[in-house]
C-alpha cells in the first residue's frame, strides 16, 4: 500500500539517516520520508516541526531518492528551529514532516538556462541543474557566497553544469564580486533562454534586474514566512504582477520581473524581534526578559 509506511511498529518516523556539515553554518541531512521522496520534484519544499511546541518552518527540497525513500535537505542555521535541527544527530527523528509542497518546477528543454545560486540557495540550484540537464538543457551555472569557506557544493556543481562560474565577495575563490557581475557577462556572450535564481531576496532581485536588462526571463524561488504551507493562512502572501498570490500553493517560484521584492523583504521582517527573543531564550535556557518586565 502506498500510504502505509511503518518502521519499528511506528508510522512515519522522519529519521535522519545521514548528516554532513558543508560550511560552518550549513548542514546537509538525508531524511527518511518515503511518501515525500516518491513525489518530490525540484522547486518544491517540505514543512517540518521538530518537537511538541515547535514552529512549522518551510525548507526547500534539495534532492530525493524514491528507491530508498530519502529526501535531502540542506539548510542554514539561522533561527531557533534550524539551529536545533543542526544539533540533531544521525539516527534522531524529526517529529513532523509534510510535503512535497508548492508547485513543481517547469522541467522541459528551454535551450540554454543560466542557474544562479547564492549561499544556501546553491543546494536547490544543484538539484535544479541536474533536473534541467536530464531533459536536455545546456546549463551555465553561477554560484556565489561571501567567501570560500561559505561556498558549498562547488565540486558537485562543476560536475553537472556545462559551465560553472564562481564569485565570492572577497575573492577567496573564483571571481571577486557578485554573481550579478558574472551574469551580466554571461548574458552578453551567450544566447540564454531562461534564468533561474535561488538565494537571498536581494540577490534574486538583482539577478532579475540584470535578466530584464538583457531581455531574459528570470524565475525566482521565494521564501516568505509560512505556517501551514497548504494555502490556509495567507502568511506567505506576496504581490506578483499586482495580484496577491500565496507562495505555498501558487509558488514558491514566480517570474521575478513581476515580484514585489520590497514587500517581501518587509513581510519577512515581521517577527524579527520575536525571532531574536526566541534565540535568546534558547541560548539562556530561560526567558531573559524577566529582569525588565517581570515575565516568567
Amino acid at each position: 500500500m502506498l500510504w502505509d509506511f511503518r518502521k519499528n511498529g511506528r508510522d512515519y518516523i522522519y529519521r535522519i539517516v545521514e548528516k554532513k556539515r558543508l560550511a560552518p553554518d550549513i548542514v546537509r541531512i538525508e531524511v527518511e520520508a518515503p511518501l515525500v521522496a516518491r513525489k518530490a520534484i525540484s522547486g518544491q519544499f517540505v514543512i517540518i516541526r521538530l518537537k511538541e511546541g515547535g514552529e512549522r518552518i518551510p525548507l526547500t527540497i534539495s534532492g530525493s531518492d524514491p528507491e530508498k525513500g530519502l529526501i535531502t535537505i540542506i539548510f542554514q542555521e539561522i533561527g531557533k528551529t534550524t539551529i536545533e535541527l543542526g544539533r540533531m544527530e544521525k539516527g534522531e527523528s524529526i517529529l513532523n514532516l509534510v510535503g512535497p509542497l508548492g508547485k513543481p518546477a517547469e522541467l522541459k528543454n528551454f535551450g540554454t538556462v543560466v542557474c544562479v545560486g547564492g549561499g544556501v540557495g546553491i543546494a536547490p540550484i544543484l538539484y535544479r541543474v541536474k533536473a534541467l540537464k536530464s531533459v536536455g538543457n545546456r546549463v551555465i551555472s553561477i554560484i556565489g557566497a561571501r567567501n570560500k569557506d561559505l561556498l558549498i557544493l562547488h565540486n558537485e556543481m562543476k560536475e553537472v553544469s556545462d559551465e560553472l562560474h564562481i564569485a565570492t565577495d572577497d575573492g577567496t575563490l573564483g571571481r571577486k564580486g557578485f554573481v550579478t557581475d558574472v551574469l551580466d557577462e554571461v548574458l552578453a556572450e551567450n544566447r540564454v533562454d531562461l534564468i533561474i535564481a535561488i538565494g537571498p531576496v536581494v540577490m534574486m532581485r538583482a539577478v532579475t534586474g540584470v535578466g530584464s536588462a538583457h531581455g531574459v526571463r528570470t524565475v525566482v524561488s521565494l521564501n516568505p514566512i509560512m505556517v501551514d504551507g497548504t494555502g490556509m493562512c495567507g502568511s506567505c502572501r506576496v504581490t506578483v504582477g499586482e495580484k496577491v498570490r500565496f507562495a505555498c500553493v501558487d509558488g514558491p517560484e514566480f517570474d521575478g520581473e513581476f515580484v514585489d521584492f520590497d514587500e517581501l523583504l518587509q513581510r519577512n521582517r515581521r517577527y524579527l524581534k520575536e525571532e531574536a527573543a526566541s534565540l535568546m531564550v534558547m541560548r539562556a535556557g530561560r526567558c531573559t526578559c524577566f529582569e525588565e518586565t517581570g515575565c516568567e
Binding site: 500500500m1 512549522r56 513532523n96 496577491v244
Partner: protein, 481 residues
C-alpha cells in the same frame, strides 16, 4: 449556564462557559414540555432524539442519555459547545416563542394556552437549554469513563474508506463508517487532527482536551489517523482510489478571503486564519515557551461579523490588547455570529462599530499598519440573502488607529484537491459539487461539509458526513454484486 468571571477570563484561554452540574441539569431537563411532535428533533441537522435524552437526564439515567445522543452524533462534547442551538433545536423549542414561524395557528394557540395555564413569565419562556444538556452528558460520560460502542476487529472487513481532512465532516463520517463495519483512515495535512475545531476555534470556546477526547474515542472505535499527508500533493485522490474502496473529501473551507484593498499586505494585517492558527494550533500565546510568535498591538481592529470575527477579537484581548474593535458593514442584528458569542464579546469589552467597512490600511515607514481608513455604510437594496446590501455613504470616510488588523470576512474551500483531481466538478467558489448523499462527479468519490457548501457550521458538516457515510456503505455493497 455559569461562566468564568469576565475580569479573570480575559486573561486566560480557559473555557468561558462552565457547564451544568447534575442538579442543574436535572432541573433544566424538567422544563421540557415533552411535546408529542417534537420540533427540536426536526431542528437538529443530525436528528438527535432530544426529548428522549432529556427524559433520561430528568430521571437521572445519564449513561442512557449519552447513548441516545451517540446513536446520531459522535461528537456531542463539541456540538454541545459550538452548535448554533438558538437557530436549530432551541430555536424551535415549543417553550420559546421562536417556534411560531414553524407552527400552524392551531398549534401555536395550544402552546400559548399551555404556557398561560402555568402562568409562565417571559423569562421562563426561554427554550430548554438543549445544548447545555448535551454538553453535560458528554462531559459526564468522559468523567465516568463511559465510551461509545466499540467495533470488534472482525467487524471491519466490509471495505476500506479513505477520508480527506480530519474536521467535523470526516470525523462524523468515519464514526458512522466504523459503526457499520468499514475500515476508516483519515488523512490530515496538519500535524494534529481536528481540522477547524483545532486550528480555528479557540480554547476558551472549545478546549483542546475536548477535541482530543472525541478523537481518542474514534481511535478506540478503530478509526485510523494519518497526519502530515496533504492530499493533492503527498498523495492524490486517484492514488487513494487505487488503495481504498471509496474516498470521502471533507477538506473544509480553509482558504482565507481577503478584501484586496490597499495596504492589506502591511505587517500587522492578518487573515483571521493565520491569526487563529498561530494561537490555537501553534499555541503562540505561550511564546517564547513555544516557538511560534504572534504580534499584538495596543489596539486591534477585526473586520467581520461572524463567529470567526468574535473569536479573533476575543483572542486579541487575551493576548494583551488594550482595545479590541470589530468593524461590521451591516447592522448588529444582521451579524451571522451566534448571539451567545456576541454577548460574550461585549461582556469582555470588545467594541463594535456597525455599518462600517475599511477602505484601505495606512502603514508607517517600516511597513507596519498604523491606521484603518473606514467608510460609513447604509442599508441599500435587498440582496440574495434577503438582507439589505450595505452601500457606502459618500464622503463619510474616517480613520481609526490600529496596531493590528484581523480580516475575518470569510473562508473558501481550498482549491488544492479540485485542481489536482481530474474530473472533479466544482462550483463558483471552487466548492466541490456533491448531491444530498455526498456523491461527486467521480465514481467512488464523495464529499461533504464546508468543502462542498463553503463555510457553514460544525453540525451541518457532521450531518453531511453521516449522510455520505451511509451512501458510501451503499456504494461499496453495490460494487460487490
Amino acid at each position: 449556564m455559569k461562566k468564568q468571571d469576565v475580569s479573570r477570563r480575559i486573561k486566560n484561554f480557559e473555557e468561558v462557559a462552565l457547564g451544568l452540574d447534575e442538579t442543574e441539569a436535572v432541573l433544566e431537563a424538567k422544563r421540557c414540555l415533552e411535546c408529542q411532535r417534537p420540533w427540536c428533533v426536526r431542528g437538529c441537522p443530525v436528528g438527535v432524539d432530544i426529548p428522549r435524552f432529556i427524559r433520561a437526564i430528568r430521571d437521572g439515567r445519564f449513561e442512557d442519555g449519552i447513548r441516545i445522543i451517540w446513536e446520531k452524533n459522535s461528537l456531542p462534547a463539541v456540538c454541545g459547545r459550538v452548535c448554533p442551538h438558538e437557530v436549530q433545536c432551541e430555536g424551535v423549542c415549543s417553550l420559546a416563542r421562536g417556534c411560531s414561524k414553524f407552527m400552524t395557528a392551531k398549534g401555536r394557540a395550544r402552546v400559548e394556552a399551555f404556557l398561560e395555564q402555568f402562568n409562565l413569565t417571559q423569562k421562563r419562556r426561554r427554550p430548554v437549554s438543549i445544548g447545555a444538556l448535551e454538553r453535560f452528558l458528554a462531559d459526564y460520560a468522559a468523567e465516568h469513563g463511559i465510551t461509545p460502542y466499540t467495533a470488534g476487529s472482525d467487524m471491519k472487513g466490509k471495505g476500506k474508506v479513505a477520508l480527506v481532512g480530519s474536521g467535523p465532516a470526516s470525523l462524523a463520517a468515519a464514526g458512522e463508517l466504523v459503526r457499520r463495519g468499514y475500515h476508516a483512515t483519515i488523512f490530515e495535512a496538519l500535524h494534529a487532527p481536528g481540522g477547524v475545531l483545532r486550528y480555528g476555534i479557540p480554547n476558551f470556546r472549545l478546549p483542546e482536551e475536548i477535541i482530543e477526547r472525541e478523537i481518542r474515542q474514534l481511535k478506540d472505535m478503530g478509526v485510523e489517523f494519518r497526519q502530515d499527508v496533504v492530499i493533492g500533493r503527498t498523495l492524490t485522490v486517484d492514488e487513494l482510489l487505487s488503495d481504498f474502496d471509496a474516498v470521502f473529501i471533507g477538506s473544509g473551507a480553509g482558504a482565507p478571503v481577503l478584501m484586496g484593498i490597499e495596504g492589506e499586505n502591511l505587517n500587522g494585517v492578518y487573515s483571521a486564519n493565520e491569526f487563529l492558527t498561530r494561537v490555537n494550533l501553534m499555541e503562540a500565546y505561550r511564546f517564547p515557551e513555544t516557538d511560534t510568535p504572534i504580534n499584538i498591538g495596543k489596539r486591534v481592529v477585526t473586520i467581520g461579523g461572524g463567529n470567526v470575527a468574535m473569536d479573533s477579537a476575543r483572542v486579541a484581548l487575551r493576548l494583551g490588547a488594550e482595545e479590541s474593535i470589530i468593524l461590521y458593514r451591516r447592522r448588529r442584528e444582521e451579524m451571522p455570529a451566534r448571539r451567545e458569542e456576541i454577548e460574550n464579546a461585549e461582556e469582555e469589552g470588545v467594541e463594535f462599530k456597525f455599518l462600517t467597512t475599511p477602505t484601505r490600511y495606512i502603514g508607517d515607514d517600516e511597513g507596519c499598519v498604523r491606521a484603518v481608513e473606514c467608510i460609513r455604510m447604509e442599508p441599500g437594496e435587498v440582496d440574495d440573502s434577503g438582507r439589505q446590501r450595505p452601500v457606502p455613504v459618500a464622503g463619510s470616510e474616517f480613520t481609526i488607529e490600529a496596531d493590528t488588523v484581523i480580516v475575518a470576512i470569510g473562508q473558501r474551500p481550498n482549491p488544492l484537491i479540485p485542481t489536482t483531481t481530474q474530473g472533479l466538478e466544482t462550483g463558483k467558489i471552487r466548492n466541490i459539487i456533491a448531491d444530498e448523499s455526498g456523491r461527486t462527479s467521480i465514481k467512488g468519490v464523495f464529499a461533504g461539509g464546508d468543502a462542498t457548501t463553503g463555510a457553514a457550521t460544525v453540525i451541518l458538516a457532521m450531518g453531511a458526513g453521516v449522510r455520505a457515510a451511509r451512501a458510501i456503505a451503499e456504494y461499496i455493497e453495490g460494487c460487490k454484486d
